[in-house]
């Protein structure tokens, strides 16, 4: 049997070579020929040739950073960490001898596999998950400063300069607070494009950045597809992945040498931007406005139904996408009800609005081990945002780990909303969070506070119960 291997570690000083040596030694002990390509700080050494790939029975990729795999298409490829190659060398090689290693498929098939639809092998699926997680994490960590800057500036300007009116908190024109609020708004406007751009960059490197940001901008701005609200951060994540995989697919195309130099700066970004934008505008965007209409209609028909059911639905909608289309529908419904002289719908909504950021903020304080340092900082900012009713404060958490965070904040939001509904909490200002109390816009303040506290506790404890410590996540 003839094997090939590639080793690469992040700093490329020691473990790249140790893994290579261990692989060679173990293979020799087992009577197997192996050639190991090392990708360390020195650069690529002992590079594998196309002829060797042709002849090889399998390839081990032991890397903690990205390694080009396209050249191994059609070969049996086993991917593992550098540590595995050092510690479990023998069992890795045995897996080839036992014929357990699957054949590496081509790029476009893999892109489809990002949404694990087919009954793929478990290991393949967990790898896809790992990549999804890595790409998300990249986007989120670049997004966090924008959320924090935007959220805090808006929070300060509303808290200190806002005046409650029946149109929500209004900051007087031509005041310093208005200017600060506008600056904060700029931060928020960058949030989704940055998220999408850096997800795409994680997938496709530099050529993915511009298409991802443009796609993210379109995702966040409903006006492109005739919708009253954009697709929010969830739309941004979708745009980022679409842009990333399109760019990655284009990168894999074989093109004439003459065109090659302009591929990464011109051809790939241009085509990808067009593709992701058109897909978003014509395929994803249109259903969003239809969905919003349907939800609005649905809420209107719910008016006569059980108050508890209505409160559950509103709490879930407000917290689900935090400023996205579903949140907007619920919020506008509550605002419309105030206009009709019924503030008792906005009360539960105002309760739910602040639960995601307050709940996640509290969660980071309760168990630091489950959050990255940057998330702990984002948690403090989220607490401030929660107090003034800026639900977006929880977006960094929800984007990085949606499957654990979104259910937790929805559960908290639903609990808070139901308590407020039962407690007959009213809110005559279309705005949420504890700040509303300061302007005597709340009827039945004690139940409002109880609702918030209950919801925040549910969110914080639930998400910490679901999350694993940071060190186990990788």
């Amino acid at each position: 049997m003839k094997l090939l291997a590639v080793t690469a570690c992040p700093t490329g000083i020691a473990h790249t070579y140790i893994a290579a040596e261990k692989l060679k030694k173990t293979a020799a002990d087992l009577g197997i020929t192996i050639k190991v390509e090392t990708r360390g700080s020195i650069g690529v050494e002992n590079e594998i040739t196309p002829e060797e790939i042709m002849e090889a029975d399998g390839v081990i990729i032991a890397a903690d950073k990205d390694v080009e795999k396209e050249r191994f298409r059609g070969k049996r490829v086993l991917e593992c960490s550098v540590a595995d190659a050092i510690h479990k060398t023998e069992s890795l090689i045995k897996r080839f001898q036992d014929g357990e290693v699957p054949v590496y498929k081509d790029k476009t098939e893999k892109a489809d596999a990002a949404i694990p639809a087919e009954g793929k092998e478990l290991k393949q699926e967990s790898k896809v998950k790992r990549y999804l997680y890595r790409d998300l994490m990249n986007g989120v960590s670049f997004m966090i400063p924008f959320v924090v800057i935007g959220g805090l500036l808006i929070a300060i300007s509303i808290g200190l300069g806002g005046v409650p009116t029946d149109k929500g908190f209004v900051i007087p024109e031509h005041s310093l607070w208005k200017t600060i609020n506008d600056i904060g708004t700029v931060g928020f406007q960058f949030m989704v494009p940055i998220l999408a751009g850096f997800i795409a960059m994680s997938i496709a490197d530099r050529p993915g950045l511009a298409p991802g940001m443009i796609g993210g901008y379109i995702a966040a701005n409903g006006s492109f597809y005739g919708s009253a609200a954009g697709a929010g951060f969830i739309g941004g994540i979708v745009a980022g992945f679409i842009a990333g995989y399109i760019a990655k697919g284009l990168k894999a195309l074989k093109v004439p040498k003459m065109i090659q130099p302009i591929m990464p700066i011109l051809v790939i970004p241009l085509l990808t931007s067009l593709a992701v934008s058109l897909i978003f505008i014509y395929i994803i965007g249109a259903p969003i406005s239809a969905l919003m209409e349907a939800l609005t209609h649905f809420l209107n028909t719910m008016q006569g139904a059980s108050k508890i059911v209505l409160a559950l639905i509103l709490g879930a909608m407000i917290t689900f996408d935090m400023g996205g289309p579903i949140n907007k529908v619920a919020f506008l419904f509550g605002a419309a009800m105030i206009g009709q002289g019924n503030p008792y719908i906005m009360g539960p909504i105002a309760t739910a609005i602040c639960i995601p950021p307050l709940g996640m903020g509290l969660a980071t304080l309760l168990n630091k081990r489950k959050y990255y340092p940057e998330e702990q900082e984002a948690g403090k900012a989220a607490l401030a945002m929660g107090l003034v009713g800026i639900t977006e404060g929880a977006i960094p958490f929800a984007s990085r780990d949606p499957l654990r965070v979104i259910p937790s904040i929805m559960a908290g939001g639903m609990v808070g909303s139901v308590i407020s509904m039962l407690g007959h909490v009213g809110d005559s200002v279309p705005h949420g969070g504890p700040i509303v109390m300061l302007f005597s816009a709340i009827h039945n303040i004690p139940m409002f506070i109880i609702g918030i506290i209950a919801g925040v506790l549910v969110t914080a404890f639930m998400v910490n119960a679901l999350k694993k410590p940071v060190s186990d996540q990788q």
Binding site: P10, I13, H15, E21, S41, D64, V82, A83
Partner: protein
């Protein structure tokens, strides 16, 4: 070309009594600082711990190679510690280490010669008999001779 360019007697510590990974790292970093290999020991330790957090640097058989590539390093150096009893190197897997090589590399380094040397060290460490000799060596001189032999 061999390890003698990167290590000297002052950078070989035997019978180190440290009983935690962190204190071994502290000890070795302090020694590197003392021999003038570092501009900024705090920044260097940060680089070391950042690398450990990405994945611990134990390579099995009681050997660990913490390494930092950082602007805080002025000249490439290697420091070696042999602890009296092995310390836990990774909580999760329970991996332990007794032979610890700390590698300091400047962020921007013209020429790859020292990287080649480290590569050779890595290769040597895979060899069982080499490690056995390192463990049984009785003096700094003995260890130095082992590390620098071609």
């Amino acid at each position: 070309m061999n390890l003698s360019q990167l290590i000297n007697h002052d950078l070989i510590l035997l019978d180190v009594t440290a009983d935690t990974k962190d204190s071994v790292i502290e000890t070795l970093a302090a020694q590197l600082k003392q021999t003038g290999a570092l501009h900024d020991i705090e920044a260097f330790k940060e680089a070391i711990f950042a690398r450990e957090n990405q994945g611990h640097t134990g390579i099995g058989f009681g050997v660990a190679i913490p390494h930092g590539k950082s602007d805080a390093v002025s000249t490439p150096r290697v420091a070696f510690a042999r602890t009296v009893s092995d310390v836990t190197w990774d909580e999760q897997s329970g991996e332990r280490a007794q032979l610890i090589f700390m590698i300091a590399v400047p962020e921007s380094q013209a020429g790859n010669e020292h990287l080649k040397i480290l590569q050779m060290l890595a290769v040597k460490l895979i060899d069982d008999s080499f490690r056995a000799k390192l463990l049984s060596a009785t003096s700094k001189e003995g260890v130095y001779a082992l590390l620098t032999e071609e």
